[in-house]
C-alpha cells in the first residue's frame, strides 16, 4: 500500500513475515534518459543506505534497515508523530540539537533537517529521510542543516536546539560562525527555505 510520495521516491507499507515494514522505492523518471536515470537512482539508494547504517551503528536514532534492493530500502516502521505535527516541546528541540551534533561529529550531514523529517515516538526523536544526506565535514553544509531548523522553529525552540547543538558538537564555533555568514548573504534574506 502506498502511503507517501516525494519528488524522487514512493513510500509503501508492506507486511513481511508478520512485521510491518516501510519500503522506500526510487521510481524511474521518464523525463531523463535511462542511463542517467538508472545511475542516479542506484547511487542515491546506496548512499542513503550507507548513511542510515552508519548512523544506526553510531547509536543515533534512525530507522533500522532490514533489506536493500537496487532501488529500494526496506526499513523498520517507526510508530509516532512527525515533529511538525506535534506540539512544540523544549525537550524535543534539545534532543534534535543533540542528535544533529552527533551526526555532524561522525562526519554526516542530513541535508534536509526539518521538523517534517523528525519523528517523535514515546518522547524520543528519530531522524528520517536521508535522500539528501552525505558524508561531509564542510561547515557550510553543517550550517545549512542548522539554518533549516532556524527557519522552521520558533525563536524559543530554536534557542534550545542551538544550545544542545553547541553542547554536543565538536565544531560548534565554526558552524555557528558560518551560519551567521550565510544569513547575511543576499539570497537568504528575501528567501524562505521550505
Amino acid at each position: 500500500m502506498m502511503i507517501g510520495e516525494g519528488a524522487e521516491a514512493r513510500i509503501y507499507s508492506e507486511w513481511v513475515f508478520g512485521k510491518e515494514l516501510l519500503v522506500k522505492e526510487r521510481h524511474a523518471k521518464k523525463y531523463r534518459i535511462p542511463q542517467l536515470d538508472l545511475s542516479i537512482r542506484r547511487w542515491r539508494t546506496r548512499n542513503e543506505a550507507r548513511i542510515m547504517s552508519a548512523l544506526y551503528e553510531a547509536g543515533i536514532r534512525v530507522p533500522r534497515i532490514i533489506a536493500l534492493g537496487e532501488f529500494t530500502i526496506y526499513m523498520e516502521k517507526l510508530e509516532g508523530r512527525l515533529m511538525k505535527d506535534s506540539k512544540p516541546v523544549r525537550g524535543t528541540a534539545l534532543q534534535c540539537g543533540r542528535m544533529l551534533a552527533q551526526m555532524h561529529n561522525i562526519g554526516i550531514v542530513h541535508g534536509d533537517f526539518t521538523p517534517a523529517n523528525i519523528i517523535v515516538c514515546n518522547g524520543s526523536v528519530h531522524a528520517i529521510d536521508f535522500g539528501l544526506s552525505g558524508f561531509s565535514k564542510d561547515s557550510e553544509e553543517r550550517a545549512l542543516d542548522m539554518l533549516l531548523m532556524k527557519r522552521s522553529l520558533t525563536r524559543d525552540m530554536y534557542a534550545a536546539f542551538e544550545m544542545a547543538y553547541s553542547k554536543f558538537s565538536k565544531d560548534q564555533k565554526e558552524v555557528l560562525k558560518r551560519l551567521a555568514e550565510i544569513e547575511l548573504r543576499g539570497r537568504y534574506q528575501s528567501r524562505t527555505i521550505a
Binding site: E5, G6, K30
Partner: protein
Amino acid sequence: MAVIGIESSAHTFGVGIVENGKVLSNEKEMYRIGKSGMIPNEVAEFHAGNAGAVISRAISKAGISRKDITGVGYTRGPGLGPCLQVGQLSAKILAKRLGVPIAQVNHGVGHIEAARIFSGLDKPVVLYVSGGNSQILILSEEPFRHYKVLGETFDIGVGNMLDTFARAIRLDPAWGSTVDKYAKNGKYVELPYNVKGMDFSFTGLVTKASKLASAHSKEDLCFSIEETAFAMLCETTERALLLTGSKELCVCGGVAQSARLREMLGIMAEEHGIRFGFCDNQFNADNGAMIALVAERMLKGNCSARIGECDIEQRYRVDAAKVFL
C-alpha cells in the same frame, strides 16, 4: 494606452510596444558575439549606435505615432551595467520628450510575466532559465506581491554554463543554441550531477565536460551536458511542484527555447497532472515587448518613477521587484 518597453540588459537591444496586453511590435538588434564572449563596453557601444533606429522601427511597425505613447518602461536590471545604462538613458529621454510616466522593470519579471500571461496560467511554479539566471519561483503575497525564489543556482546560470562549454570545445558560434544543435546525435557520457533540494550547481558539470573534450566527440559531450543539466532542472522543479502543491508550471528565459528542455518538463508535468505552458520564442529571447507588458501593468498600478529617480541595478533580484497582476 500604448506603452513602449526598452530592453538592453545583455546583447540584445529590444524595443516593444504593447496596448492593453496586446503586442503591437517587438523589434530588436542583437550584438553578435565572436569567440570572445560579451565585452560590456563594446556591447553598450553597439546598443547606443542602434537605439534610435530600433525605437523608430518599433513605433512605425506598431502603426502608431509618438503621441499615442502613454508610458515608457525600461529594464532596470539585472544585467551588464554599461548595457543597462543605454536603455535607461533612451527611456528617460523618450519619457521626458513625450511627457509620459516611466516604469522601472525587472528583467526576470519581464520573462516570467510574458510566459505566464501568454500561456494563460494563473499562479504557476516558474522555471526561469537564461544565460545569467536559473531560478524556480512562485508568486507570493508576503510581505508584498513578488516572485518568491524556491530554488536557484549556487553559481552560474544554465545558459552561461552552456555558452562557456561551447567556447571551451570551440563550437562556432560559441553559444548554447549551438550545443543544442550538436546534442541531437550524441551518446551518453557520465558527468557530475549536482542538486541539493531545490537548488543546483553547474560549475562542476562544465569543468568536467570541458576536460573530457579530447576523449569524446563534440556530439557526445553536447548531448550529455544538456541531458544532465536539464535533468537537474527538471528534478528540482518537480520537487518545487510537489512541495507547493501547485498544479501549473511554466518555463521561460532564453534556455526555454530548447525543445528538449520543454519536452522533459512536459513529460514530468503530465505524470503529475500538471498544466504546463510556455510562450512564443520571441519572448523567451530578450525582447522589449515583455518589458512593455510589465510596464503597462505597473503604470496601471500607479507604480511609476520620477525621471530623476530612475537608475540601474546590476544585481536587481527578481524577488525584490513588486509585481502588478
